[in-house]
Assembly symmetry: C2
Homo-oligomer: 255 residues x 2
């Protein structure tokens, strides 16, 4: 059965791009992309056969308004949307459902727990989607929409979603930054980053069968002061990395 | 051609276990396991058809002595080995080849860049092995031995190996600790850790095609002060995690 719901997407960044494209592929009609950044709006609109504008006043009537903008812009962007009909849905981990109260009649949240970069395709079927809505009817609409693009659609309260987002910052954003530091360290010694790939893959594979506490290895968990002192000395040209090393080692030793 | 080299393994921990078992599977004769921890020595010896002892004075004569002990114990353990014949090889990332000088006639290093837990099998063929030796002949012996158990055998000076080890602590040990924190955060909200698995897998898959700097996402790289303040507030019951959050976010923003 072809899906007849129409969607306006507010935002044209990493999340907006992957989400709009997944919905388009699933048969949804993306009416319009709205973004202050004209080039991004136009580029995304082209890939999902939609119109685009940088003027919120020109927002078209739709069944669903999907907000995928930075948290700091979200409130203002919702207010600037002149349309009050339809279901208004944001995608932010750390923002409450209550954001829509008194502004739009129907509000919901669809939070994709994934890291998105425009340049990297993602298998959206594997992305867990966390759903929240004010009414059971709207929750069902979001569950249907979610299951059209993902195999994993789950309920989460605003409080749970905030915690998911916080955990994701540790497990993904900070992890990636540690990879960046490791990359820079290897570069300094003329070593290519890809020698670390088997280690990084195994670090992740381990936690499929062991808990992260059981999987912990390295000088800190062994309380090997000898190695840690040498490492801190080697980092003396990078005081910030040295401090990260000290703090994370202390945190590992504490457990 | 069956391998006729004999090996004594000093140590019975995570690295010793995986390395001795890989060598045994490749046809090497493991003569003996030596470890202060009798139970570990006996358990490992059983899996590689070797004798075991907790008394270094009883070390048997062998072609290769493989030291896989903590860095802080390494020097003493080498000194306590009464055998001076054969090739003495340590497996420590942060220890120099010079450790053997004046103590044994022939020294070498075989550093496996991987995280090992006894409970988790590892495909040793995928483990990069970094080789160093005092003479070209001994380097060749270690390269042959290395390539019998791994597809990836590389040269590294002591300085490069130290840097590899330091980078590995960031990319693996610290990463795993971030997973542990994420796990604890989810538990507090009654959420299972496995909802993070697709995110963690994607975090790692991204760096196969993007550099870690290009792959960076999250509130810090977006300079989203709104989210970061909320997260810091949520972490106020965990001052150490709060400090980790603050420091890693600052480090991401700096780049």
């Amino acid at each position: 059965m072809p899906n007849t719901m129409t969607i306006v997407c507010i935002g044209a960044g990493n999340v907006a791009t992957h989400l709009a494209q997944a919905l388009y592929r699933a048969g949804y009609t993306i009416l319009q992309i709205i973004s202050r950044t004209e080039a991004s709006a136009e580029a995304l609109a082209r890939t999902v056969n939609a119109r685009w504008t940088n003027d919120p006043q020109k927002t078209e009537a739709a069944d669903i308004y999907l907000y995928a903008v930075s948290d700091s812009a979200l409130e203002e962007v919702i207010r600037k949307n002149p349309q009050t009909n339809g279901l208004h849905v944001h995608t932010a981990g750390s923002m409450s459902l209550l954001l829509f109260e008194g502004v739009k009649q129907r509000g919901g949240v669809l939070y994709p727990l994934q890291t998105f970069s425009k340049e990297k395709p993602v298998d959206f079927k594997q992305v867990p989607l966390f759903i929240e809505a004010s009414t059971a009817d709207d929750a069902n609409i979001l569950k249907q929409l979610g299951s059209d693009i993902s195999n994993s659609v789950l309920d989460a309260t605003s409080a749970q979603r905030r915690q998911l987002h916080l955990a994701a910052v540790f497990a993904c954003n900070f992890t990636n930054h540690l990879f960046a530091i490791a990359n820079d360290l290897l570069k300094e010694s003329g070593l290519p980053f890809d020698v670390l790939h088997p280690l990084i893959r195994e670090t992740v594979e381990k936690i499929a069968t062991l808990s992260p506490r059981e999987a912990q290895t390295g000088p800190a968990i062994r309380k090997d002061a000898n190695v840690m002192e040498k490492h801190l000395l080697k980092l003396s040209d990078h005081p910030q990395w040295q401090e990260i090393y000290r703090l994370l080692s202390e945190s590992i030793m504490k457990k």
